[in-house]
């Protein structure tokens, strides 16, 4: 059948091969170097201590229970977030030419807000409602799993909303309208819109499930022991990377399988979708119960956004030692900003090189897809453990014990995400514009700088803002590789949530949120400007 997009085998100008040849090995070294070292170490451990290895590999009933509980929590959170996302996202999509676009940007802004800030907000509210015994005693919670589910679902809701909105945006409006003249809207929504939006929804749900499963931040705050925390605890007591890896294997089997399963629909979305910017607004007449659910989901999102800021301001304002806290956290802020900026700056060129491989329709791109998405399945404690083994080498130029370690840890976790975002942007560029540039442009370098780069700038800005913002909240890997004498704001906030005073926690949370909002808003403003520019110059897929 006819294609809606001009045919072009490669949607980007050929890169200087030397740049590709230099950047892609760095990607492989950063991610697969530590993983390979961990694998070799584990093989050695199995050979030298087979009994111990078998003992760790053997799944005790306690560990089976822990794994099932973790999977149950992740499934519950994913189900809630995707259902809430579909409800709120479909409403935002229906309002896409009006207020919807602003709500979408607000949700995008809130996605990477650190888990610790969410935990602080909800601990405060739950303590004031008498559900928790006190703000700084969340670990005494009587409903650890329930509260973990609640807080994690709310923390991930903006992601669910953005994913769903994007999924609906990708549905060709003509296909919806063709159905609307034939059937009532509820049937059109369930039989046409949802199935056509399902590739991104499934991929999003798969990745979201994995993110929930590998992260222990929120459950550990509320004393819900999850499997990834067990990996951290094992390494903390034995200091044996191989033992931690063997312990993580059952979790890895689940997460890697899910990532590989989710990769296929995501790939089809990025490689085949028609990214439309047609100005249309569907006036769907949906059943009353669904409209109520849409409004409730959007209401919860707004409530969450307002509550986060309100709780932080109120708590910080009532703190007597606010100034002391902020002063004490000064060096941590500098470390945080340095790590985040370093990781962002180093990630972007590598992510761009990787993204250019991901959008190619060649057999080799399958291998790059696997290479790019596997890191998303690795639990953060295991990332930290593998990095310690790989980078802690004797010699004068060892990077171990320097700030390069947390920078690499953040890159390990979020560089693949940046590559996926940029790949989506590469596919949104109209290849005819690049063809025109190659005919009329002066040279490849000029074409790259004056045509190609401005066209993909929105994706690069989103990727940069995303890496920076997620880096602020990174805990699981950073905690293990942060050099002695240094700390990030997230680590300090995590520790305060266990031991500190509420005012200190709030002040830190406010500071983190301030840095986060300032950087991410700047990124998004640049994106919006870029989008406007590309629209003016006709960057529209045919």
């Amino acid at each position: 059948m006819m294609s809606h997009r001009p045919s072009c085998s490669l949607p980007l100008p050929e890169w200087p091969w030397i740049l590709q040849a230099a950047l892609l090995p760095i990607f492989l070294l950063l991610i697969y170097g530590p993983l390979s070292a961990l694998l070799i170490d584990t093989l050695g451990f199995i050979i030298t201590e087979p009994d111990r290895a078998l003992e760790i590999l053997f799944l005790s009933s306690r560990r089976i229970g822990l794994l099932l509980q973790s999977i149950g929590l992740s499934a519950a959170v994913t189900g809630t977030v995707i259902a809430g996302g579909i409800c709120a996202g479909s409403l935002i999509w229906q309002w896409r030419t009006g207020i919807g676009r602003y709500i979408f940007w607000a949700a995008l802004l809130l996605i990477p807000l650190p888990f610790t800030v969410h935990a602080l907000t909800w601990s405060t509210l739950l303590a004031s409602a008498g559900i928790l015994p006190g703000l700084l005693a969340p670990q005494q919670s009587v409903h650890p799993w329930l509260i973990s589910w609640l807080v994690e679902s709310i923390a991930f809701l903006p992601l669910g909303i953005c994913l769903s909105t994007l999924a609906f945006e990708l549905v060709d409006p003509d296909r919806i309208e063709a159905a609307r003249v034939l059937c009532p809207d509820p049937r059109v929504f369930s039989r046409i819109v949802l199935p056509l939006a399902s590739p991104l929804l499934f991929a999003g749900a798969g990745f979201l499930f994995v993110f929930c499963l590998i992260d222990y931040t929120i459950p550990s705050i509320y004393a819900a022991n999850v499997y990834p925390f067990e990996i951290f605890a094992e390494f903390s007591t034995s200091y044996l990377p191989a033992a931690a890896f063997l312990l993580a294997l059952p979790l890895l089997v689940v997460t890697v399988a899910l990532v590989l399963l989710s990769q296929r629909p995501l790939k089809s979305v990025i490689q085949d979708s028609m990214w439309t910017r047609r100005e249309w607004q569907p006036e769907f007449l949906l059943p009353g119960w669904f409209v109520a659910a849409q409004r409730a989901a959007l209401g919860i999102f707004f409530l969450q956004a307002v509550l986060v800021i309100a709780v932080l301001v109120v708590l910080a304002g009532t703190s007597a030692d606010l100034a002391t806290t902020l002063l004490l956290a000064g060096p941590d802020s500098l470390t945080t900003v340095a790590v985040c900026l370093g990781a962002t700056a180093l990630s972007l060129p590598i992510a761009l090189a990787l993204a250019s491989r991901l959008v190619e329709k060649k057999r080799i791109s399958n291998a790059w897809w696997i290479a790019a998405t596997i890191p998303l399945a690795i639990p953060p404690p295991l990332i930290g453990i593998s990095m310690i083994g790989f980078w802690n080498t004797p010699g004068d130029i060892s990077l171990f014990g320097t700030l390069a370690m947390p920078v690499f840890a953040v890159m390990f976790r979020f560089l693949p995400l940046a590559a996926l975002i940029i790949a989506a942007q590469l596919r949104a560029v109209n290849p005819l514009l690049l063809d025109a540039a190659s005919i009329f442009g002066r040279s490849r370098v000029t074409n790259f700088l004056t045509v190609y780069l401005p066209l993909i700038l929105p994706g690069i800005c989103i990727a940069a803002a995303g890496v920076f913002a997620f880096a602020i909240g990174e805990l699981g890997a950073t905690l293990l590789v942060i050099p002695p004498g240094h700390s990030t704001l997230t680590i300090r906030l995590y520790n305060y949530l266990h031991y500190g005073s509420s005012g200190s926690v709030a002040a830190l949370g406010l500071m983190m949120t301030g840095i986060f909002l300032a950087i991410v808003s700047t990124g998004f403003l640049l994106v919006r400007r870029g989008l406007r520019t590309s629209r003016i110059h006709g960057d529209k897929p045919a």
């Binding site: 003509d174 296909r175 309208e177 609307r180 003249v181 034939l182 006036e283």
Partner: protein, 225 residues
Amino acid sequence: MIEIRNVSRHYGTVRVFSGLSLSIPDRKAVAITGPSGCGKTTLLRLIAGLERPDSGEITIAGRLASSPDYLLAPSERSIGFVFQSPALWPHMTVRENILFGLWNLPGSAREDRLIDLLNTAHISHLAHRYPHEISGGEAQRVALLRAIAPRPRHLLMDEPLSNLDDDLREAMISLIITIMDQEDISLVYVSHRRDETDQIADRSYLFRDGALREVSEVPAPGGSS
């Protein structure tokens, strides 16, 4: 009959048309031609209920269908719509695409109708194929069958042949004429090509600068009378 009375439509500050009035009689084929961007597609979308007029009203078979404050659901207007692109649903086979609009018929009636339509268009062999497994011309035939399957009283076609080559175009025109004769429906056909509209329509309207400038009776050899 479709009655359009004093309808205006703006996109932001851009006026598409203003105070437009038009009658489309039953069982007649009406063509609307005009340069790109003159408002042809917008007019079809207003008739189908996919957009709301800024002022004026549209009635279908004497019943109010659209006004600034009221919008009858598109599926309740007894209208079929064929877009410029086939817009087939990629997750459904040809058969499922055509059957989609027959959701309120009993199973045997649906199957009978499907067989009739596939035979008329000579594409019975494509019934179980997915849209990506058929050609552009075949896809446009399926889109036409899907639109007329529920036996609408009015069929709207928005430049349906613009992506086809001359041979396919001729074959498709012949199919449209056959269907018009068989189905006893009115047709509103939008195109910028006079040769196409002359073959299909009984009457032709020319859109220019947001207004109907010219009305011509076309001696349509194949159009319904």
